[in-house]
Every structure is written in C-alpha cells, then in structure tokens.
Amino acid sequence: MSATMVLGKRALREAIRQPDALFMTMFIPIFFLVVNTGQAAEIFPSESTEFLEGQGYGAFQLPITLLLAASFGMAALFLVEEIEGGYFDKLRAIPIPRYAMVLGRLVAEGAKGVVLSTVIVLIALPFGISIASGPLGFILLIGLSALWGVVYAGFMQCIALKTRSAAAVNSGGLIFFPLLFLTPNFVPRDLLTEPMEIAATLNPVTYLMEAMRSLILDDLDWEKILPGFGVVAALGAVMLVLNVRMIKRYD
C-alpha cells in the first residue's frame, strides 16, 4: 500500500473516532436546509416558480447544504494538533514522499465527503427532493461535493502548514466561508441585485453551485456541469501545488 493510502486510512480512522465532529458536519448543513426551506418555500411555490423545475424549494437549497457539509472538514485542525503534539515531526523523519503527508489527509477527506454527501442526499429524498439527472447525475453530484471538500480542506491545510496554529486555521475558514454565500444561494443569478450578480459571477463557487443545482433540477446539462468540474480542477491544481510546496519547504 502506498504511503498516501496508509496515511489516508489513518486519517479516516481518526475521523471515525471523533464522532462529535462528524455529527456537527452533518447537523449544521441539514439545519440550514430545513430552516432556509421553511422560510422561503411559501415565497417560491413549486407550481408557479419556474426555476424550481417542478421540485420544491428544498431541491434548490440542496447544493449549498452539500457545499457547507463539505467545507466543515477537520483535516487542517487535526494537522495542527499533530504538529503541536510532535507526531508530524515523527512522520517527517520517515522516508516517505513529502507529498504523501499532505495527500493522505486529502484522500481521507474525499472518502468522507462521498459518504457524508450520500447520506445528506438520501436524507433529502423522502422530503420530495429528487435528482432529475438520474443515477449518473447522482454520482456526479456526490463527486463534485466530495471534490469541493478536498479542495477546501487542502486550502485550510496550507494555512495549517504555514502558521501551525489552530486559531489561524479557524480565521482562514472565516475568510473562505463567505465565498459560499456570495453565490446564487437563494435565487438564480439573474434574479440577484446587480452588485450581488457581479460578485456571484466573479466567485468561482457560483459555477460549482450551478453545476450541482443543474444535476438536481435538470437533465444532464453539460454546459452547466462542466464549468463546475472546471472550477474544482483549477482550484484543486492550485491547492495541490501550494500544499506540496509548503511541505517540501517545511522546516
């Protein structure tokens, strides 16, 4: 087994043994799904709201729920804990590729993202939410959500490697977090006010959200889906380069 997979397996075990963290990762996004849908469902009835494509407002809110859940990864905080406790140095003294030390946790975040996203979608199904793009769309939806989780955790991991501080990681989260909300979160982009529409258009997360929404509300519409994968690919590449550079320069 490669060093990345060995460390990934370890990171998964670590996550499973911290069930309270997993619970919060699930609870907060589902809480927002219920609250936001409860508040806006009457304003946007499915029968008369064109952009809902015949589904309830919960279906429109599901992408932000999945993105929120994927953005609550604990990888960076576990890494800081490991640096502070000295175990990270123990791993650095082992002749494994340096990149394996950062990729291991990201592989685990990806696996965790697949499981959590699947559970959230399965919870949503009995409440009248369906995946209009079918089984392939379901797989793409879960894949996008999990990949976003990996990208987000990777950027947080960069902050952890640079600062070695839990406070800085938490602050970093607060900087990145608004990106999730500068998006067509409550209504489609063309219904936003002009400043918000400009902000959402400049925000790469918008394209990810629109791809996910398209998978839930429409048939497979590659014009909307591919930009979402393009965003995670581009941000993922930047994140990987930064992570590998930082671990190689770690002293």
Binding site: L7, R13, E14, G86, F88, D89, K90, I94, P95
Partner: protein, 272 residues
C-alpha cells in the same frame, strides 16, 4: 553496563551551523558543532536549556535544514540524501509525539507499512516491539489513555520499527517518574545490546553517567567538553587538585561556567 563493539562513526558532524532569520536579529542557535559518534555505543549530548541540543538533533535527523557544515548518519550525508539517512535512523523527540486516536498496535503497524513492510510483516514486527517495550496488554487501547511512561515506551518502539542503525532520543525521560525512568533506561540498554547506536540528549546528569559511554557538552551552540564520563571527571580533577572527587555535575558546571544556583532548574539530578 553492557558494552558493544566499537566501530566506525555512526554520526559525524563537521562545522554544523544553524541560524534562524526571523523579524529580529539572526539567532545563532548552533555555531559550528563537530561530532564523531562511534557505532554501537550510547552517546550523551548534554547542555543547559537553549544550548543547541535539540537544534543539533533536529539537523542530524533531517527535520531542520542545515545553515552550513555537514552531517552524516550511518555514512549517509543528511543534507544530500535525507531519505537514505531517514532509513538509517530512528527518532524519538522531546515530547512523545504520538497519534492519540490510534491504538498502540495500529500506530506500530502503520509505521511498519510506511517503512515498506507488507501488512503481515508490519503486524508481526508490531507484535515483537510491543513485547520488547512490555506494552502487549495495552496494545489495543487508544494511545490517549496511556500514561506518560507508556507513551515514551511506545514512542521508542515506533522509532525501532525499521531496525535503525542509530536511535536519536531527545530527552527521553523528561517528565517521567523515577520508576518509569528506570524502565526506559533498561529499554535503552536492551536496545543498545542489540547493536543499535544511541544518541541521547538529556538534562539529567546521573542519566548520562549511568548510560553513556561518551559525552559531549554543548553550551551557546558550541561543544565545550567531549570524552568519556571518567575522562571528563579525571580532567577536572587534574585541573582542580585537592578538592572532593568531581562528579559529572561538577564537570557540567565547570564546562558551562555556571554555579550551582544558576544551574538549578536547568540541569537536574535524578534519584533513581
């Protein structure tokens, strides 16, 4: 003490320097350390707090970049071929750096796999090491629940997974109660008895006297004394005739220019 055959150098440092360049003035943590540690022995590296002990160990173990000079472990240049150097060394640093959410067995198996053993080989090696450090009963408990002494022993075991030529231990008994300290000493003698060279930093002079065949004392980033404990004591006796038989404490105080009052809290004696 069990003695080993003395061979070539297991650790060699020539003009080892480490500077830290931060926002303030450059800190010269290590200012030209030369070391020659023979294979098969237990080498003690002593010094007051902030003398450069841990910085030197971190450079020798590839964890810290070297500003200038060179270092070899097991004949491998640490700067040029860090991965090969890592294959030859085991490292247990000042804090028992362990993953608190794994069990002792899981941690050792994982380390075995990271050193290239198959899952079955890693499980077998983990079992051997758990027996060596007498942690078989606690093997399947998560490390968070281990006592300080148990964590130290597991840390030692983790450092031995790949049967390293040289074992670096940075203050392995700091913070342990006297009984746990004695247990660690016994482990170290046993490990050394199997032929592993041990490079040990400690603040406990009696520990150095009990365990080490050779010592170096570092102060202000340079080596100020080096030799066997008996040589160092004899040297001091020659320079200060007529007084009481010098102890290693006296050697340390003489070498670092400290008085007993000033040294209190920096270097401690242990009643073990």
């Amino acid at each position: 003490m069990e003695m080993n055959e003395i061979g070539g150098p297991a650790v060699r440092a020539e003009g080892l320097v480490k500077h830290y360049n931060g926002r303030g003035p450059t800190v010269e943590a290590v200012r030209g350390v030369d070391l020659d540690v023979h294979t098969g022995g237990i080498f003690g590296f002593l010094g007051p707090n902030g003398a450069g002990k841990s910085t030197t160990v971190r450079m020798l173990t590839t964890l810290l970049s070297i500003t200038s000079g060179r270092a070899e472990v097991g004949g491998v240049d640490v700067g040029r071929d860090p991965d090969e150097a890592r294959r030859r060394i085991g490292v247990a640093l000042q804090e028992a750096g362990l993953d608190p959410r794994q069990t002792g067995r899981e941690l050792l198996v994982m380390h075995g796999q990271l050193f290239g053993l198959s899952a079955a080989q890693a499980r077998e090696r983990a079992q051997e090491l758990l027996a060596l450090v007498e942690l078989e009963d606690a093997a399947d408990r998560v490390i968070k629940g281990y006592s300080g002494g148990m964590q130290r022993r597991l840390d030692l075991a983790a450092a031995l997974v790949h049967e390293p030529d040289v074992l670096f231990l940075d203050e392995p008994t700091t913070g342990l109660d006297p009984a746990s300290r004695l247990t660690v000493w016994e482990e170290l003698r046993r490990i050394n008895g199997h032929g592993t060279t041990i490079f040990l930093t400690t603040q406990y002079l009696e520990e150095a006297d009990q365990l080490c065949e050779r010592l170096a004392i570092i102060d202000g980033g340079i080596i100020v004394r080096e030799g066997t404990p008996d040589q160092l004591k004899a040297d001091l006796r020659e320079r200060r005739p007529g007084g009481e038989e010098p102890t290693l404490d006296d050697v340390f105080l003489d070498a670092t220019g400290r008085t007993r009052d000033r040294a209190a809290g920096e270097v401690q004696e242990v009643a073990a």
